[in-house]
């Protein structure tokens, strides 16, 4: 027994190292004074540069946040209504429509990116923050839909019948029964959409125009001109923020898989 415990502990340590060693290197080098991988001394130099002389980066950051908030909001509303519609009503080709709406989940990002680019060009829409917003909303809807249909399928349909039976109309049933029951799913869907939107590079790359850069795009363009330790500093701040958010929304997975 003891031997077994030792082995699993060793595995545990190695897994942690594997995950966090690269991040640790990044954190350490964000405090390096020099610009190369040679340690020349401890300094807050790059943090200073990040906060005082990186206007474009913060601009991209702001874009990312705005796009993430708006597109997750839009996709959550659309996805929620879609899921309720698919679940609630009986209509022809219901299964087909459900499958088709999940399809984008499985398509490679690059295909979605190219098709959106061609589509926007086709209808004459200039690439800007608006096109990024539309693109992000589009790819987020299937995720929200998926989470919410899973949530809806968990609860007993007779609850809806009970609501009608007790005298409630469709509107009361929607507002007082269905939406409160699936609220955890809606929150989970929204958070998931936020994460995906903040994270997305490939699709955004195709549909962004001049001056409409998001944070991942901006970082990519910075790296093309050589790794700047400013990115290290930014990464450290992002890691801290993500860790904080992750601790806050510890229950997110619980919401998704809640019984």
């Amino acid at each position: 027994m003891k031997e077994k415990k030792k082995i699993s502990f060793v595995f545990f340590i190695f897994t942690l190292l594997f995950f966090y060693l690269p991040l640790l290197v990044l954190v350490i080098y964000s405090f390096n004074e020099g610009k190369t991988m040679k340690w020349t001394g401890f300094s807050f130099h790059w943090y200073e540069e990040l906060f005082t002389r990186s206007k474009e980066l913060w601009n991209a950051f702001e874009n990312s946040i705005i796009i993430a908030l708006l597109s997750s909001l839009a996709s959550t509303v659309i996805g929620t209504l879609g899921a309720i519609g698919i679940y609630w009503y009986r209509f022809r080709h219901k299964k087909l429509i459900q499958t088709v709406s999940y399809l984008p989940l499985m398509l490679p990002d690059i295909i979605i990116g190219i098709s959106l680019l061609i589509f926007f060009a086709g209808i004459g829409l200039n690439l800007s923050l608006t096109t990024i917003f539309i693109a992000h909303t589009t790819f987020n809807i299937p995720y929200v839909l998926f989470i919410l249909i899973a949530r809806l399928q968990e609860f007993d349909y007779s609850v809806i019948e009970a609501s009608y039976d007790l005298g409630a109309k469709e509107k009361d049933t929607l507002l007082k029964i269905i939406l409160p029951i699936i609220k955890p799913g809606i929150i989970a869907g929204f958070l998931m959409a936020m994460t995906l939107s903040l994270d997305d590079f490939v699709i955004t790359f195709f549909v962004s125009g001049p001056g409409s850069s998001t944070l991942p795009l901006h970082i990519f363009s910075m790296i093309r001109f050589g790794v700047s330790p400013v990115i290290n500093a930014l990464a450290v701040i992002l890691i801290a923020a993500t860790a904080f958010l992750a601790l806050l929304s510890k229950n997110m997975q619980k919401y998704i898989y809640q019984s």
């Binding site: 009608y164 039976d165 007790l166 409630a168 029951i181």
Partner: protein, 369 residues
């Protein structure tokens, strides 16, 4: 509150070309405890859902208090349903669940509080107001569902196998409580079940259903004691069937010859038969007496006395079930353990025994020319 009467005329319903209900017509009186008993898939739940307004009939009429319900959706009918799964609202407390129908009606808060307390009392759940459904046991959920349905003051309570998710002890207990709630409120109960004990013990009348048809409607004792149909006899309780050709008839009684028993069997004619008809009798196992000694038969008694060999005895507490072999045909006879003295010499396995029954106790369930 007073009970609503139900009239069903020529009701039919199909799902995907499969006819679930076949031209049903029957009445339920105001305030009656009416059970619909049948095996799963017989259409009883569909019938209940049509009465409740959850399914639409293909043809036929449902009248509640003599009003055609054609254009009344579920939320406009005087019916409330106790669902098999209880269907409590998981995000609402016990209090909020029960108050839901009144909130929909936009009643004032003090009035709602008053009513909810009254019905919580009725189902003996006072003190549970702030609990959520997931914190309740099965029996407690059941009570919340009952209170929530009754607070709406329906004319009919529809119960869809309400006790099937409870354990046997609790089931018996809830059944007695349902019966007392029925007596207190005076509303009509339509009770769907596949459990004959539930149906027989509390109902005023029972309808036995199979394959989309109602085979017999009657009081529990009528259904049990004088089944009109082989299915009814077989489905309710345990029974024996004896088939044969009618040989003689005279007065109230007739005799058939059974090929399997190789003997004449006397029976009373519940319906008229002619000599030469092929008939089927049912005789309940508890009506058959078993003894070692040959009982004395007098000419005035219409007894069938047969001899056989005990094939199997199953001890069942208050009674023993005998399976008696007569030329390879197995007949069931239940013998209650009446007294110690009678039991002092128990009949054993493979013993030769006499058994007999009164010709009045059998029922004709099938006659064909």
């Amino acid at each position: 509150m007073s009970g609503t009467s139900v009239e069903i005329q020529g009701l039919s319903k199909s799902f995907d070309n499969h006819q679930v209900l076949k031209n049903l017509s029957f009445d339920i009186r105001s305030g009656e405890f009416f059970s619909i008993l049948g095996p799963s898939g017989c259409g009883k739940t569909t019938l209940l859902r049509i009465i409740g307004g959850f399914e639409e009939e293909d043809s036929g009429v449902v009248l509640l208090d003599n009003v055609d319900m054609k254009n009344y959706p579920a939320n406009k009918r005087k019916t409330n349903t106790i669902f098999q799964s209880y269907a409590l609202f998981p995000h609402l407390t016990v209090y909020e669940n029960i108050a839901f129908p009144l909130k929909i009606k936009k009643m004032t808060k003090p009035l709602i509080k008053n009513e909810v307390e009254k019905y919580l009392n009725m189902v003996k759940l006072s003190g549970y107001e702030k609990k959520y459904p997931k914190e309740l046991s099965g029996g407690q959920k059941q009570r919340v569902a009952i209170a929530r349905a009754l607070i709406n003051q329906p004319g009919i309570l529809l119960l869809d196998e309400p006790l099937s998710a409870l354990d046997a002890k609790l089931r018996q207990h809830m059944l007695v409580e349902l019966d007392s709630i029925h007596d207190q409120t005076g509303i009509t109960f339509i009770y769907i079940t596949h459990d004959q004990h539930e149906a027989l013990s509390v109902s005023d009348r029972v309808a036995v259903m199979n394959e989309g048809k109602i085979l017999q409607i009657g009081t529990p004792s009528e259904i049990y004691e004088s089944p009109k149909d082989a299915f009814v006899a077989d489905f309710i309780g345990e029974t024996n069937f004896i088939e044969g050709i009618v040989q003689e008839k005279g007065g109230k009684f007739a005799k058939l010859y059974s090929e399997t028993l190789k003997t004449m069997i006397e029976f009373d004619m519940d319906q008229s038969v002619e000599i030469g008809d092929k008939v089927k009798l049912t005789i309940r196992p508890e009506k058959i007496r078993v003894k070692r000694e040959n009982p004395q038969k007098t000419s005035s008694q219409h007894f069938n006395i047969l001899k056989g060999k005990v094939d199997e005895i199953i001890y069942h507490g208050f009674q023993s079930k005998f399976f008696i072999d007569i030329n390879g045909f197995i007949l069931k006879a239940f013998k209650p353990h009446l007294s110690y003295f009678e039991e002092s010499e128990r009949i054993g396995w493979k013993e030769e025994v006499y058994f007999w029954w009164d010709a009045d106790d059998s029922f004709l369930v099938e006659v064909s020319k």
